[in-house]
């Protein structure tokens, strides 16, 4: 526990000591209480971001200086209750229980005070120094209500600050209160449960005290309460201690007795009911608010989640977001592409020719370009998603879509990442973060790749032009996209049933009131996402791009090059020069490591009629789907580019209809590009899932391609 107040008392006389006083504060609160906006409102703050170990949950630390104190505020992910459920809640809970810190700031929403106070009561069980911040007080005052701060302070025994991030109210007071609380000893606990429960708590403490781990009476009381609350984490914590045997015996008896006494199924319910009743009374004492009529939120909801109109409105919003992300996003993407290819050309000219030049201008610079290229998409998509989340619409979207997606073992919110997948899989994987439940998230991410991304379009267009010439290309293309989506939904259902059989999936979700988004926290979040992407996925992507460059460039064949260069020089007209160049490029790629790999594994693709050129192209497609067509162009020695009719002609000559259909299936299902895979790895830390994700789409793609090929064969194609 805390002993800092002693040192800071003596420090008051000595300025040089005060300067080094560091205060560590954890900021905890339920989701949707405006925690980030409040933290962002603290002036002169420096924000650090990072990751909690083992999970993809961002940490934010805000550093401020005041009156010679260095104060760091650790912003914990939103947590509804110490009976944690989502991984984010688990992160917060572990931090609260296991880490060292001086003060807890508990932020609550004045509008839902009683529900928020239930969590506050759980925090008070910890007996740490604590400050209660009642946020969004402006909304209560606007309705003509008020919160009695003094009364709450008296009842809870901790300082209370009324604040509003929007009106910048109470922000300085929070900082001042931190310093005050830090300087003074902790006040005595004022929250007690009913007699029959306190009796059991006392009994448990007396047993726990026998162990040296629970010498601190406050901590022993906390553990005793959590044990009565049937807290799995606390079981695990003391499971290996000698005192456990005695605790375990008495605990079982206590559970039975209490459950009989209170006529409840579980002691967890008894404690929940006590806290609910207590927080209800606290709210009655401290909050004055006139009877609410229909709120603005409800009026908006009458339209936006209208039983009939809700869905089309939502689909329209999604269409808009999609257009913005991938149409508007393509403009800066072209600039980025232009910038990097021109820089590469420029540097290639000013540097002496050779290995280093080639490494830099064909390896490194394009690799960096490949990373930066995704930023416009990611930024726009996340701006959109953050807007949906901050305004409160995302919860409505989940409400609207859940009935449909539930049938396929997915959750309502999965719709946004799934649709984004049609644009680009990389930001779509990141968008899956909006799913807080890890099972929902992993299933969504595992089937996301089946939503054909924009980069696969040229491949489909090529195959359609070559083999479906007498069909409406739009219809064929539509069938391919829908086919992928339907397959994704079916696979999602299978994954849910096979991998998570019989596990209940709660869909109990707060639907927050509509709010105007805060510009500052929108931008802050975008900045954090950008940094995370560049740091984590970016390094993966750059390395992967370098490896692909290496495989397709080496080993060098100076002899072949020399022979062809002579031939090219001797060629008389432009046309034959061009075709000789194409031939050289085809020969070089064929003899590169990539070509060798493709030829070696060609037997795998033989059963559905791929020649080695198609195999190499498909393998190159693992790097980026954009290069599939250009690789084919190079290998069939007709030069890259879709506008090239030569390639369509060559395809017709070399590939039969069945193999073309198999190619579509492979492209649709097999692993997405390295950038997407890197993003998946960055988002999902468990190696088991990473391995599964890397293997299963390729197996599925092969099996389906093989099946369809043979069905077509039997059908006489």
């Amino acid at each position: 526990m805390n002993t800092h107040h002693e040192s800071s008392l003596s420090a008051e006389n000595d300025k040089s000591l005060v300067k080094n006083s560091k205060i560590k504060v954890v900021v905890a609160g339920q989701p949707n209480v405006g925690k980030s906006s409040l933290l962002n409102a603290i002036g002169d703050a420096r924000l650090h971001t990072g990751n909690f170990s083992g999970v993809t949950v961002d940490t934010k630390v805000v550093d401020i200086k005041k009156d010679g104190y260095d104060i760091s505020l650790v912003d914990l992910p939103g947590i509804y209750s110490l009976n944690a459920y989502t991984p984010e809640e688990q992160v917060s809970k572990n931090y609260l229980i296991q880490e060292e810190y001086d003060i807890i700031i508990n932020i609550v929403d004045a509008n839902t005070l009683s529900r928020n106070l239930i969590f506050t009561l759980q925090l008070l069980d910890m007996h740490k120094k604590m400050i209660l911040v009642i946020n969004m007080i402006d909304e209560i005052e606007a309705k003509g209500g008020s919160v009695d701060k003094d009364k709450l302070e008296m009842l809870l025994g901790i300082p209370v600050v009324l604040s509003s991030a929007k009106e910048h109210k109470g922000i300085d007071e929070i900082v001042d209160t931190i310093i005050e609380v830090y300087k003074h000893p902790k006040e005595k606990n004022k929250i007690y449960y009913s007699e029959r429960i306190e009796l059991r708590i006392e009994k448990l403490i007396s047993i726990l005290k026998k162990s040296p781990h629970f010498k601190d009476p406050d901590f022993a009381r906390f553990v005793a309460i959590r044990l009565l609350d049937r807290d799995e984490n606390i079981y695990k914590m003391i499971h290996d201690l000698p005192v456990w045997i005695e605790v375990h015996d008495i605990l079982e008896k206590m559970y039975k007795k209490l459950e009989a006494e209170f006529d409840e199924e579980s002691t967890t319910d008894i404690l929940s009911n006590e806290r609910a009743a207590l927080s209800h009374n606290l709210q009655m004492e401290a909050l004055k608010i006139p009877e609410i009529q229909e709120s603005l939120s409800e009026k908006i909801d009458n339209i936006l989640i209208h039983p009939v109109l809700g869905l089309p409105i939502f689909l329209f919003f999604m269409w808009g977001l999609f257009q913005l992300t991938f149409e508007l996003g393509n403009i800066p993407m072209n600039w980025i592409d232009w910038f990097f290819s021109n820089s590469a050309n420029y540097i290639s000219e000013i540097l002496p020719k050779g290995e280093f030049n080639s490494l830099l201008t064909e390896g490194v610079i394009p690799a960096i370009g490949a990373v930066v290229m995704f930023l416009p998409n990611i930024l726009i998509l996340f701006l959109g998603i953050n807007l949906l989340e901050q305004t409160g619409y995302m919860a409505r979207a989940a409400y609207l879509m859940d009935g449909f997606l539930k049938k396929f073992g997915l959750q309502g919110k999965a719709f946004v990442p799934l649709v984004s997948g049609f644009g680009c899989t990389v930001p779509a994987y990141m968008a899956a973060r909006t799913l807080k439940n890890p099972k929902d998230r992993i299933i969504t991410m595992l089937v996301l790749g089946f939503m054909s991304c924009g980069a696969r379009l040229p491949i489909y267009v090529l195959v359609i032009a070559a083999f479906f010439a007498n069909h409406n290309p739009g219809n064929v293309l539509f069938a391919i996209y829908i086919g992928g989506a339907v397959l994704g939904l079916i696979v999602a259902k299978i994954l849910r049933v096979v991998l998570f059989k019989g596990e209940p999936e709660p869909f109990v979700m707060e639907i927050p009131p509509y709010r105007f988004p805060s510009m500052k926290s929108l931008l802050m979040d975008l900045w954090i996402k950008t940094k995370m992407f560049l740091k984590k996925a970016g390094t993966f992507i750059a390395v992967a791009a370098m490896i692909v460059w290496f495989l397709s460039t080496y080993p060098h064949h100076p002899k072949t090059e020399q022979i062809f260069e002579k031939k090219i020089e001797l060629a008389t007209n432009k046309k034959s020069k061009e075709s000789l160049k194409n031939e050289l490029n085809a020969k070089l790629l064929e003899d590169s490591y990539l070509g060798t790999i493709g030829k070696t594994i060609n037997p795998i693709f033989k059963p559905f009629g791929f020649d080695w050129r198609m195999t190499v192209s498909v393998i190159a497609g693992l790097a980026a789907k954009e290069v599939v067509v250009s690789t084919m162009g190079t290998l069939y020695a007709v030069g890259g580019g879709l506008e090239n009719n030569g390639l369509i002609q060559k395809m017709k000559e070399n590939v039969d209809f069945k193999a073309a259909v198999a190619l579509i299936i492979i492209i649709m299902i097999y692993s997405p590009c390295l950038a997407a895979m890197s993003t998946f790895y960055a988002e999902i830390p468990q190696w088991l899932w990473r391995t599964f994700y890397t293997v299963y789409p390729n197996v599925l793609a092969w099996l389906l391609a093989y099946t369809v090929y043979n069905i077509l064969k039997i059908a006489g194609y």
Partner: protein, 76 residues
Amino acid sequence: MKKVSQMNIGDCAIVRKITAKEPIRGRLTAMGIVKGAKIKVLKHTLAKQTWDILAGNTKVGLREEEAENIIVESEK
């Protein structure tokens, strides 16, 4: 006594029993849907697959399956 899934839009009721198992039970508690709480059905989707419930001052989205596991008593 009836289930929330049997209520109509605009109906108010008092929660009498929650038959859901953990972890759904804990989620409901955290949202303020506990024994004795007053709730109101704000909306449900066309096929009644998803429900929008007001508990205290919190709006909660629920699935049909969860709405079936909340037993309420109607309020006049």
